[in-house]
Every structure is written in structure tokens, then in C-alpha cells.
Amino acid sequence: MTRGMLKKMSLPHGGKLVDRCRLTDSVEINRSNVLYVDRDRAEDIENIAHGVFSPLEGFLCYNDLENVMENMRLEDDTPWTIPILLDVDREKLLDFKGSDRIFLVNKENGLVAEMEIEEIYQVEKKKVAQKIYGTIDTSHPGVANLYGMNDMFIGGKITLLKEGRKEFEKYTLWPRETRVLFKEKGWRDIVAFQTRNPPHIGHEYVQKTALTFVDGLFINPLVGRKKKGDFKDEVILSAYNALIKNYYPRDRAVLAVICTSMKYAGPREAIHHAIMRKNFGCTHFIVGRDHAGVGNFYGPYDAHEIFSNFPDLGIIPLFFRSFFYCKKCGGVVNEKICSHSEEDRINFSGTKIRAMLREGKIPPEDMMRKEVAQAILSFDNPFVE
């Protein structure tokens, strides 16, 4: 009997894994009650329906939003730090007059969901920006995105009727599936790693350090809307496959994607990332330096400190400080365990690695595994145009 069979699976956030899927082959839509949603909102809908955002059963109503802003908790005291909102054009609302149910449709991927309108409300975007992002500066991408939304919002439960087409079907696992997978593998303690980039040696060091103390590693790249110059999602997956195949023990790592947009909300988003991974069945979550940060909006370890506000989070954060190659230590270390000077240290510069790959060069082996670099360079253009 494995250790995993001796203990129940870790509890989803809020106590129960949400399932708002009522999939059907024939969906009859009342055209006047349709709200077309973009890719980000379609991803939110699927994440709610499949329990990634448990305990949310729909888009936030005003009281929950206020509580998330003021207390970093839902109205029922469950920790929650990032508002999941559905905005709507004022004129469109006239079409819904008198209806308490609408259909949410994404034209691009064919997703269809039904929504019970519980509340329609207006928010002061400046206030939301200040509370969630800690700034109203529009150079912050999360703030800019919020300001680009309509002024009116709809709150209420959703039901997924038709799944959207997936770009990475093979790598799409939902919390119900990962929970069964981890149980089958006999994993009790699972550490999740959030990423948006192909792995360099520093990432490998962090993952393997964490894996030393748990049963399994869940590598969970965030795929979705990207910025120009970012690595393409398929490149990240291919690079990780190369790393796992060549350098990880068989049956100790699982690679699957999570489809949601980055909010760049720094510390608040670190909590959100941890909650999502808790719902996937993970017991630990790696939090690095400036997790989910952008520019200089957050302190390098704000995303570590925020966890002290949540004794009831239900997932253990594993904090990593800056890591680097130390010539004197002769390996990858971090500032907590290395006494040598800055001159002895070689930092893992994402910019430097990116520049080399852009020129078609393989970075040095103390920066990136050869197999990983080759996987990246096998793409004509690994970067988002």
C-alpha cells in the first residue's frame, strides 16, 4: 500500500469541488439573451465550471467583490484575493431587461454557458485598481485591462453547456482529473510550480529542491493571452517535455496547462495561484521572487509576506529567494545558503537566455539544459509576434 492510499485527498478550497458542467449536444439559445464573451471570460467560465476557481460558482456579486477588495476574502470568510468579474455594455443590458437568465457565448471556440443574473452593479474602477493592484497607474497591465472593461458588471452562477475547443487538449486536465491522477500515482504531498517560461537551470533547481520533500511535482504552465516577445505556449510545453524526459525521475512529475490570463497582481495573485493549485489537489506551492509581479510595482518578497494573513489557506507555500550559479560553491544555490560574494555569482538572466535563443544560439549548459534549448530552437519562431 502506498502512502497516498492512507490519507484522503487534500480538501478543495471552500470544502467542495465545484462542478457547474451540464454538457449537452443540443443547446437552444434565445438570441436576444446572448452576451458574447472574450477569451479571458470564456476561460473564467470553464475554470468556474470545472472547479479550478472553487468555491466560486459564478461571477462575483457586489458584496463578494467588496469583501475581496477590503478583506481579501469572500463574504463567507473564505480567502479570495482576485475578483472574477463579468462586465457588460450598458446598452446590451437593455436587451436583458426582464430576463433572469442569459447565455454566454464565445464565438471563437464555441463555448456556451448559461448564467443566472443575481445582480447587476456598477463599480468604481479606480477603487478596484487601488485595492487589487495597489496602484491606479495605467502602465500596470492589470489596471489597463480593468480600465478597458465596461462600467457595468453582472454577478451570478454559471452553468457550462458546451465546452470551448482547446488548443492543448492533450495537456488540459481539470481538478477532478488531477485528483484521481495523483491518487493513482500514490502521491500524498504534491508541490505545484507555476510558470510562464521554458525552464532554465534555476527553475530545475527550485523544482527538484521542492520535490525532494514531497511525492510529486505538478508543473502547471499558465497558457492564454500573451505579450509580444513572450515564449509561445507550445514552445514552453515542448521545453518542459524535454526536461522531464531527460532529467526527472519517471513518475515524479506531471505536466498540464492552466488556461487563465495573468493579472500581474503580485502578492494577491500569488494567493490566487496557490488556491487554484490547491483545487487541483496540490498540498504545496512554490512562490519565487516577485511572483506575478510586473515592473517595480511590488517589492521582491511581497508575495511571500502576504501568506502570513492566511492561516486557513489550506496549501503550504514554499518560499524561494533568488537563486544563481555560484562559482565557488560549484553549483546552483540561493542567497540563504551561499556565503560568497556577488562576483562569484552568475544570475539566471531570462533576458540574456532569450537573446541567445533569438540568435539561434544554445545557451551555456550552466544556464539551460542542451535538450531544452534544442527543443526551443526546433521551432521556426519560438516567440509571440
Binding site: M9, P12, K170, R176, E177, L181, D312
Partner: protein
């Protein structure tokens, strides 16, 4: 603006004094903040212990089939 909802709980004065001393110089700014923190922690650990299995055998088999088809399980 959402009204913040609080309630009053009585604890022995001596205990309250001990806690006040305990939280001096920590990040806790009040007795209430500390008690709230501890109670949240205790409740969360109790809920964890009471967790039930989430799936029926049939659901689990169906999921395993998909995991095999995707190559996650042998």
C-alpha cells in the same frame, strides 16, 4: 460600501491579558486580530480532517479512462 460584520465573544480576562502580552511586538495589532487568526487556523485544520472522498467509483473509472487515453496513466 459593504458593512463589516463582527460579533463579540467573551473570553476570560486573564486569558485576554496573556494574549495581549503574547502579541506584543508581533504583526498582530489587536487581541481580536490574533483570536481571528487562531480560530481560522483551527477551523481549517478541522475541516481538512473531515474531508470526504469526492468521487464515486464510476466517476473515478471514467476519469482514469481519459487519463490513460491522454498518456498520463499506463
Amino acid at each position: 460600501m459593504v458593512e463589516k460584520k463582527f460579533t463579540t465573544i467573551s473570553i476570560p480576562t486573564a486569558l485576554a491579558e496573556k494574549i495581549k502580552k503574547r502579541i506584543e511586538g508581533t504583526g498582530f495589532h489587536s487581541l481580536s486580530a490574533y483570536v481571528t487568526y487562531v480560530l481560522r487556523e483551527v477551523l481549517a485544520s478541522m475541516e481538512e480532517e473531515e474531508a470526504d472522498e469526492a468521487f464515486t467509483k464510476e466517476e473515478e473509472e471514467k476519469i482514469k479512462e481519459r487519463l490513460r487515453a491522454l498518456g498520463y496513466l499506463d
